[in-house]
Amino acid sequence: MSTAVGYAAVAGQVVLVGAGAPVVTGWMRQVRARLEGRAGAGVLQPWRDARKLLRKEPITPVGTGPAFRTAPALLVATTAVAAALVPLLSTDTPVSSHADLILVVALIALGTMALALAGLDTGTAFGGMGASREMTVAALVEPTILLSVFALSIPAGTTNIPAIVSGAAHEPARLASPAGLLATAALAVAVLAETGRIPVDNPSTHLELTMIHEAMVLEYAGPDLALVELGAQMRLTLLLGLLSSLFVPWGIATGSSWVALGVALVLFAAKICLLGAVLAAAEVFWAKVRLFRVPELLAGSFLLALLAVTASYFLSGVS
């Protein structure tokens, strides 16, 4: 019985992230449109876009190799695996023992890497430019994510995410500690950078020269583009889910009951919608910083992560 719930939880996580990600993106766009006084295209627009793209014929540019062709599938696959590992619905699943935070970060980085290679593979100026910018940002984001992970794993004594999450759910004081708050802030900035949101990148721009993520995928069309967009949307949902699991862990099923799983599902959807709405609302008030200011922003978040680690050493008495 318990394994049945566990498998259901894993399957639920993957399906929820896969099917829900476009809706989350549509929801964020809709929130933003309404706040800006526009009508908006509706929550389901990303799914309609995907349907349109899937009906088109697949086209690949002349001279591209396996890196270009496998990247969309690799991006979606790594994100799906990460979605299975991260305790979005339940901390007690058959894969819980493998759900190491470093592994999840590595999976996400693998997806980024695949897209950057695909950008380079096209041989166009934009692909190369986008890949170079994406790698610059990624190189600055990775240490921040790893450091905030350490800050969180120190009180739990492990880098296993389900253990961190269930520990925090039972002992909320860990989250309210300076280390927890600093790590939250650092990870939030890192998530913004990793998912290409304002103020680091502008996902809705049409200006090729300012793009980071979009510049890498300019050459994709049809079903491949649909996959790339789905991958990017899944990453956003997954990272928002990771943030909420780490810092608002309440409601995630820790046992093996169907009821708890159902509650977790509803709460997860609510948390993601709320977090997405907050992010969309914040984006209305922000503007994109100059590209050369991005390292300053990320250095700031790195500093926060570093402080979080320091704080968790000094304040928790672990030495």
Partner: protein, 496 residues
């Protein structure tokens, strides 16, 4: 008001130098095919007081089709000469940069579209040959080609960036993808049939180009336009300035990822376009300015304009008060005063770099004396300065609209009484108008039968385009779209 001097071709450089050092600027160069050979007209203007001086150089049929270059005296002159060479085949002698300007490499060799015997466009035949870009070489230098087809709804232009890291070492803009042969299309039309063409030289400058055309035609025909019509025209000119400025203020915010201000700026623009439709029957103000007068369906609602003005002021204040937006604008793509002066920049680009020229002051077509017209000038030359100049110009324009609307009644169609024409001499006229982009110059020559023999419009974009790469030196690539939008030059007005 306009002095015409027929001079010998050898005198040209000396006379031009005298005029340029005497405070004139070269506003227009137009070649003509007369019965007895070629004639090149150089129009120099200065003001105030409104001074216009023309130098006419005649080339007899037995003389070579060549003129001495003025490129060493004036940068715009060099560009006019290159344009003339490409369209007429008149060679500027000793030109320091004798490369093609208008002609793309697929144009047939030896075919000059403005020559009378040019005929219809021939099939692409023997090409002019390759037209390579200058390659910047060095460690880590790479090229980014952009366009001519862009991701946004903008006009076509090809930009070739030579970049090291993210810093632009050199930008080469290759335009001239939208050559429609406007000058040729004017020839042989009646004055009335020329108006729709003038309104479409650059779609966003319908009033500016129509007005410059009408002023030129009226000078050529000796038409006295009533003051009421001139004031209505001045009012329309400012309406056009506002709706273009407000759209660009919004788009500048959008280009730095601050979309909400763009949404509101476009909302305000839509209100203005609807107001335009009430006033002239066309959202872009076509049909308001007509040869000999002006036609209004209604007067602009000043109460609504006041509310719109407050809206715009709030949008501009919010943009400037936003630390990230302000930071993105400040110090980006600086065009220094000296560079702007040498290149011959006009309009808000010049006024953001400390040059306060404005045709409403130097060449007024209706009295601006008691309007308290102030020309906003900033001297930092960056995107912020261009933003500020345009935001402040909106306030000035609103005050002008209020001033000129007084004493007008609507609906109105004021036309000058038809002048006693019938003289058989070649009649010429020049129109100078401060359009929203800058000073527009149009020179018209009428044939004895009253049709248009030659119309040469010059959009300020023709002067301002070379300033864009200069301002972009040492700017980073992601700031290019912002800079381009802050200049917002016309491709069609430049190309004709």
């Amino acid at each position: 008001m306009r002095n015409t001097h027929d001079i010998d071709v050898t005198e040209l450089p000396q006379r031009a130098e005298e005029l340029l050092t005497g405070g004139h600027r070269l506003a227009l160069v137009a070649a003509h095919h007369d019965e007895h050979g070629l004639r090149v007209v150089y129009l120099f203007v200065a003001g105030p007081p409104d001074t216009r001086t023309e130098l006419h150089v005649r080339l007899a049929p037995n003389q070579p089709e060549a003129v001495p270059t003025l490129a060493h005296l004036s940068f715009p002159a060099g560009r006019f000469e290159r344009e003339m060479r490409d369209l007429f085949g008149i060679v500027p002698l000793d030109h320091p940069l004798p490369r093609r300007l208008v002609r793309h490499f697929h144009w047939p060799r030896g075919w000059y579209p403005m020559r009378p015997q040019a005929g219809p466009t021939p099939a692409f035949g023997e090409q002019e040959g390759p037209y390579p870009f200058l390659e910047v070489e060095g460690d880590g230098v790479y090229e980014i080609p952009v366009g001519p087809v862009h991701a946004g709804l903008i006009e076509p232009g090809h930009f070739r960036f030579s970049v090291v890291g993210e810093t632009i070492l050199k930008l080469k803009a290759r335009l001239w993808f939208v050559h429609r042969g406007v000058e040729k299309l004017f020839q042989g039309r009646s004055v009335a049939a020329g108006l729709p063409l003038a309104e479409r030289i650059s779609g966003d400058t319908a009033v500016g180009h129509a007005l410059a055309y009408c002023l030129a035609v009226e000078e050529a025909t000796g038409t006295e336009v009533p003051l009421e019509a001139q004031n209505a025209r001045a009012m329309l000119l400012e309406l056009e300035r506002i709706h273009n400025h407000v759209a660009d203020l919004g788009m500048l915010c959008n280009d730095v990822g601050h979309g909400i201000l763009n949404a509101h700026a476009q909302r305000v623009r839509e209100q203005l376009l609807r107001l335009n439709k009430e006033v002239t029957g066309h959202r872009l103000l076509r049909g308001g300015v007509v040869p000999g007068g002006a036609a209004l369906h209604a007067l602009p609602d000043l109460v609504r304009l006041k509310a719109i003005g407050e809206d715009i002021r709030e949008i501009a204040d919010l943009a400037l008060g936003h630390s990230t937006v302000h930071d993105r604008f400040t110090g980006t793509a600086i065009l220094h005063t000296e560079a702007a002066r040498t290149i011959g920049c006009l309009g808000y680009v010049a006024r953001a770099s400390g040059l306060g020229a404005d045709a409403r002051i130097t060449h007024p077509f209706t009295p601006y004396d008691d309007t308290r017209l102030t020309v906003p000038v900033h001297d930092s030359g960056d995107v912020l300065a261009r933003f500020l100049v345009r935001a402040e110009e909106i306030d000035v324009s609103l005050a002008l609209i209020e001033h000129f609307t007084e004493g007008l009644s609507a609906p109105m169609a004021v036309l000058a009484p038809p002048s006693a024409s019938g003289t058989t001499t070649l009649r010429t006229g020049v129109g100078l108008v401060e359009g929203w982009r800058g000073s527009i110059t149009t020179r018209v020559e009428l044939a004895p039968d009253g049709t248009l023999a030659r119309v040469k419009p010059v959009d300020p974009s023709f002067f301002n385009w070379p300033a864009l790469p200069v301002a972009l030196a040492d700017t980073i690539v992601p700031d290019f779209p912002l800079t381009n939008k802050s200049f917002n030059l016309s491709y069609a007005g430049n190309d004709l």
